[in-house]
């Protein structure tokens, strides 16, 4: 946790009330297939093809792959937030195809998402405060553990940002607000879809440190989508490499990055940012 002290994170993040209690996997996906229909021609495009994925409680899993390989589609479909796919998805042991609407609504806050574009992740017509108020109204029990000012403190934002609107926030600030909103729900899985690629280089490290710290203190599992191998290595235990909708290689980070078995993985490793960082380490 060297970054934590470096950036002066208050230590009370450790008092987060939830710890992983069961060993049910947070997310299990078997043979997921997701197809997009092209609006113009009506042809089907298979964005995710026969993907299986398992995230244990508190585990940190990365999905890497080139642009358009289906990472976002996979993450959205696997968490039941995006397009429906074929295949079996179990969220905390509940099969998504079998749960009722009310059960689903109760399950949903267990998964929270942080996106690449922080401004697009906030309703432009809502101030930070009223956005949080809405989340509290939606999930009163889940969110009562902390007040707004403390919550912002945990993502290292000053409480006077509460009355700002999204367009009055910098990219980094907005991303922290997004992380705070996710944190408020005390999720068991955080999906981070390239959470730093929309940000200035100087802010990227801060946001990553924050994510790492939240993981360490809350025990939430992490599904990280990234282009940046350095990020993946420093944050994740397991990596899945996607190519054209398929997972071509999966395994512990060290193994996959150290001795890649698949030709595409090798190519990707050579091309991706962070490869140089790897050799320096």
């Amino acid at each position: 946790m060297s970054e934590v002290t470096e950036t002066g994170v208050p230590g009370d993040l450790a008092r987060h009330p939830r710890t992983p209690e069961s060993d049910t996997p947070v997310l299990e996906v078997d043979d997921l297939v997701v197809e997009h229909r092209d609006g113009g021609t009506g042809t089907l495009f298979r964005a995710v093809d026969q993907v299986s994925l398992r995230i244990a409680a508190g585990e940190s899993v990365a999905v890497v792959g080139e642009s358009g390989s289906g990472k976002t589609t996979l993450a959205m479909a696997a968490t039941g937030l995006g397009p429906r796919g074929r295949g079996d998805i179990r969220l905390l042991g509940h099969s998504l195809s079998a749960v009722s609407r009310t059960q689903l609504r109760r399950l949903r806050p267990e998964v929270q998402v942080v996106f690449q574009d922080p401004h697009g992740s906030l309703d432009p017509r809502q101030s930070v405060r009223s956005g949080l108020r809405e989340l509290r109204a939606l999930q009163p029990e889940r969110t009562s553990w902390i007040d707004d000012a403390d919550l912002l403190g945990r993502v290292r934002l000053a409480p006077d940002l509460l009355d700002r609107y999204p367009h009055q926030l910098s990219g980094g600030q907005a991303q922290r607000v997004c992380i705070a909103r996710a944190l408020l729900m005390r999720p068991r899985l955080i999906v981070a879809d390239e959470p730093t690629s929309g940000l200035d280089v100087s802010v990227q490290a801060d946001v990553l440190a924050l994510l790492r710290q939240i993981r360490a203190t809350t025990g939430a599992a992490l599904l990280m989508i990234s282009h940046d191998l350095a990020v993946v290595r420093s944050l994740c235990d397991v990596v899945h490499v996607m190519y054209r909708g398929r997972v071509v290689e999966a395994g512990p980070c060290d193994r996959v990055f150290g001795t890649p078995e698949n030709d595409y993985t090798r190519e990707l490793l050579a091309a991706m940012p962070g490869a140089r960082w790897r050799s320096r380490r």
């Binding site: 113009g40 021609t41 009506g42 042809t43």
Partner: protein
């Protein structure tokens, strides 16, 4: 042709056909809801037996579904029924009036193009100047004025006060001047705005700058590149506006006592001659759908990707 193209064209045809069917059904429904036509024809005092006979003769005693299918069959074989008021075939009456409306619409549309396009080009090539503002305001004014009122004021000025031109009726080319001018106002404004918009979009494209940089003259750039870009929207609007005017020139025809379709529709409404109203609606719908189809065909010829 690629499979996707077939799909798209097929989808478009299906959508147009659905539109047509909706209009036909609406017209039929309104016809059924308009009360007992035998009362309109025979008067309220007619004996019941006589009415019953007429109902039978008109086919009104058949089940509604049968009536509907008969009606659809009639539409697709060109038989639009009989007028209650004129005791004539609706199809032949529409055919009689159509040439007058066509004349008016044709002349109006030609005028609209002749003035609207240059006005739009003027505004686009001098974007932000007073020329632009003037032309744009004029165009917006053309879309804001009740055109039939504009026609009335033309009558006051040129027929009543100055006595230069006839105030109404058809006959000589002189009779056509004022109605055609009136008719052209709205499409002219529309064409001007559209020309300006698509040309100034095109003029902002990077390839225009690069063409200029390569030393191609500004005039050539404007006409060869930017205007080509504006052609298709203009053509589209001309075709569609023609459809609108063909069926919707009621008020202008009324101002000038022009014996076209619009006047016929008005007469039919005033005399509650519902079969005739229905026939005109159906005719308008057919024309509209055909013109929409024409626009689609034009698009696929000009742009192989179709939009």
């Amino acid at each position: 042709m690629k499979a996707s193209t077939v799909r798209r064209v097929g989808g478009r045809l299906a959508s147009l056909f659905a539109s047509l069917l909706i209009a036909l059904s609406l017209a039929f429904l309104l016809g059924r809801l308009s009360g007992d036509p035998t009362a309109t024809i025979l008067g309220p005092m007619a004996p019941p037996e006589q009415r019953e006979a007429l109902r039978h003769q008109l086919g009104l005693d058949l089940p509604v579904v049968v009536q509907y299918l008969d009606y659809l069959k009639g539409v697709f074989t060109g038989d639009l029924g009989q007028s209650l008021q004129f005791y004539q075939s609706n199809t032949s009456m529409i055919a009689d009036r159509l040439p007058y409306t066509l004349q008016l619409v044709g002349a109006g549309m030609a005028l609209a193009l002749l003035v609207g396009v240059p006005l739009g080009v003027l505004a686009a090539t001098r974007e932000g100047t007073w020329w632009d503002r003037g032309a744009s305001t004029l165009a917006l004014l053309g879309q804001s004025v009740p055109v039939f009122w504009f026609g009335m004021m033309l009558v006051v000025l040129f027929a009543v006060k100055l006595g230069w031109l006839p105030a109404g009726q058809s006959g000589s080319p002189r009779h056509l001047i004022l109605p055609a001018l009136t008719m052209s106002v709205y499409p002219m404004a529309h064409i001007a705005r559209l020309t300006r918009a698509s040309m100034s979009d095109a003029l902002a494209e990077p390839y225009i700058d690069s063409a200029r940089a390569r030393g191609i003259s500004t005039r050539r750039v404007v006409w060869r590149h930017a205007f080509t870009n504006a052609m298709m929207p203009i053509l589209t609007i001309v075709v569609l506006q023609t459809g609108i005017l063909l069926s919707g020139a009621v008020a202008v025809e009324y101002v000038y006592s022009w014996p076209g379709l619009g006047q016929l529709a008005l007469q039919a409404i005033q005399f509650r001659d519902f079969p005739l109203v229905q026939a005109i609606v159906v005719f308008g719908a057919l024309v509209f759908v055909l013109l929409n189809l024409l626009v689609d065909v034009l698009h696929s010829i000009v742009d192989p990707r179709v939009r």
